[in-house]
């Protein structure tokens, strides 16, 4: 009896002390931005004492979780459509950018030596170009000695925002791709081998001679993989990296789609990387847990203001300032409590 009383008291004490603790923001979704979210969260916790609990369960999972209201925010590499946002009462905004980069495993070819363009890349993944010495590749690379070797296209076997961005670009530049394969986080691939996750694709490309794959730029850089140059919309060959992604972001019209849902594929501009990609945050317009959501917005504002250098160190690309201004305007206008008072005001 006495023991039971002590146990009850202890539990009560634990509960009260737990609720008195600093707020923990919870989020779930895309795996691609996980490293930078973790780094930001760590720095933010040191500065404010408030932690962020982010589970990188994948974009699809993130969308499911926010719709089930189990998290404060969801994160997705593929934007929701305006219709979907309205129906579920969500707002969406991009937090950080990266890029999708083709990587190859060809003997004697160094990073950045091979150049490809969109239509050729689409033909390789459609199975129409089968060998590295194909005329289409040779034409783009007059100074590279291409082997007579079968091309092994490697792609994601799991649903992925990376795949979505890659397929979106191929559909932009190849009508064949648009009708035969289409755009989604998972596809019916005509050829090639599938691997799970960016690390799986990176591993398979590294192990398979004559292979080509697509990964987030950070993976290509960290694993010292042989990335290729791409011919962009302006017809110029560009290398992947933060400059070319920033160029693509600067030339994009962010307000043309609801929820800033612009895919940065095939953007105009001489310097634009053709497969730049943003990653989005999803939140409710009228959240149930006001304190958590207000704190999450504070965290995002902090990340926009102070997170650029950290993003850079991990090869992510910060959002342009004018876009951030628009996003914050949207917060004040759209995210409100029950009485209609905005959760975020620039002063706090």
């Amino acid at each position: 009896m006495k023991f039971a009383k002590i146990a009850v008291a202890a539990t009560a004490l634990a509960l009260t002390s737990w609720s008195a603790q600093a707020i923990d923001i919870s989020g779930a979704g895309a795996t691609f931005p996980y490293p930078i979210y973790a780094k930001w969260a760590d720095a933010y916790k040191k500065e404010t004492g408030n932690g962020l609990n982010y589970q990188s369960i994948g974009s699809g999972g993130g969308i499911k979780q926010i719709k089930a209201k189990t998290v404060t925010f969801g994160a997705s590499d593929a934007p929701l459509t305006g219709k979907d946002l309205d129906e579920s009462g969500l707002v969406q905004f991009p937090l950080v950018m990266g890029s999708v980069t083709p990587v190859v495993n060809l003997e004697g070819i160094k990073p950045g030596e091979l150049t490809l363009d969109g239509p050729t890349l689409a033909k390789i993944y459609l199975g129409q170009i089968k060998s590295w010495d194909d005329a289409a590749i040779a034409k783009l690379n007059p100074n590279v000695k291409l082997p007579k070797q079968a091309i092994v296209p490697v792609r994601r076997s799991d649903g992925s925002g990376t795949t979505y961005n890659f397929a979106y670009y191929l559909a932009e530049v190849s009508p064949d791709w648009k009708t035969k394969v289409g755009v989604s986080t998972a596809l019916q691939w005509p050829v090639g081998i599938g691997a799970k996750g960016n690390e799986g694709v990176a591993g398979n490309v590294a192990q398979t001679k004559g292979s080509i794959g697509y990964v987030e730029y950070a993976y290509a850089k960290v694993n010292k993989m042989t990335f290729t140059k791409m011919i962009n919309k302006a017809g110029k060959a560009v290398v992947p990296g933060s400059d070319t992604v920033q160029a693509a972001a600067a030339s994009a019209d962010w307000n043309s789609k609801p929820g800033f849902g612009v895919i940065l594929a095939n953007q105009p501009g001489d310097q634009s990387w053709p497969m730049a990609a943003a990653t989005w945050i999803l939140m409710y317009k009228k959240p149930e847990k006001l304190a958590d959501s207000a704190e999450a917005l504070k965290f995002f504002a902090w990340a926009y203001a102070k997170g650029d250098a950290m993003a850079d160190s991990l090869d992510y690309v910060p959002m342009p300032d004018n876009v951030v201004k628009d996003i914050m305007k949207m917060w004040s206008a759209e995210i409100k409590d029950a009485s209609g008072k905005p959760l975020y005001s620039p002063t706090n």
């Binding site: 076997s157 090639g192 599938g194």
Partner: protein
Amino acid sequence: MNSGERDVSEAVLKDSTLTASDSASRSSVLRRLRVTDKVFHGLTRTAALLVLALLSGVILSLVYGAAPALGTFGFGFLFDESWNPVTERFGALAPIYGTLITSAIAMLIAVPVGLMIAFFLTELCPPVLRRPIGIAIELLAGIPSIIYGIWGLFVFAPFMQQYVQPLFIDSFANVPVLSILFAGPPYGIGMFTAGLILAIMVLPFVTSISRDVFDAVPPVLKEAAYGVGCTTWEVFRYVVLPFTRVGVIGGFMLGLGRALGETMAVTFVIGNAHHVSASLFAPGTTISASIANEFTEAVGDLYTSSLIALGLILFFITFVVLAIARYMLMRLQMRAG
């Protein structure tokens, strides 16, 4: 230990003599004993029923989850090769095909090799080698499947791509049937590589069970056979194998069960492509690999439901394999007497 036991029995004795003098307390003790027994009986029954409840729960939730997909695609689901998340048209043919082909390759290799190892260990092996080889086989069974997967991807697949597959493709280029089974290009990973990895994983099961049952063959039978002039092969074929058939089939089925359901190692090396290809070198997929790859990121109810339907099919295949095994064992036992 001994003194402890005596203490208990004395206590019981004292207890029973005490209750014998007092019939009221005696009946209460008996009642208590009966209640204890009933509770114990109930607990064991609950534990046993729990297994049944779990099994039916699994089946029910699989059927419930698979209902939307099976309702949309009907029986055609089993025979449709397409797996298109964009148009939401799904079929299970490629995963079923991959599962059966890789398991078949694995069993074709693992069973003869496993039986030979087991016979060597029990009959021919010098005693010095017997323990090291036996332990090595058992260690093989203890390696986690993810290790096989990583080894398969980083070591075995590049080796296959550079040496084994080009050799097969070139040598069989003009041989009918074989030229189709071993057609290029050499990807390194694919159904054949997955089957080989599975064979290595299944080998310890087949070997250790066969060794145990071979050990159980009465020496007098073998000695008699050798005595009338049988060769080692004849002893193996006509004495040891017939005597141990049931156990060997048991090991075979255990191995097949593992091959059918193995996920991680296969995912690494099969190529995860929803295609039905005649060439064993082509990438394919299995049921469990598809589920492991795609479940977390399956967007849309029909996609998720189709993956659950795949799970239901695997459940069914495993069930059929077990049922066939039972039936074969039963027939063997009936024939044996």
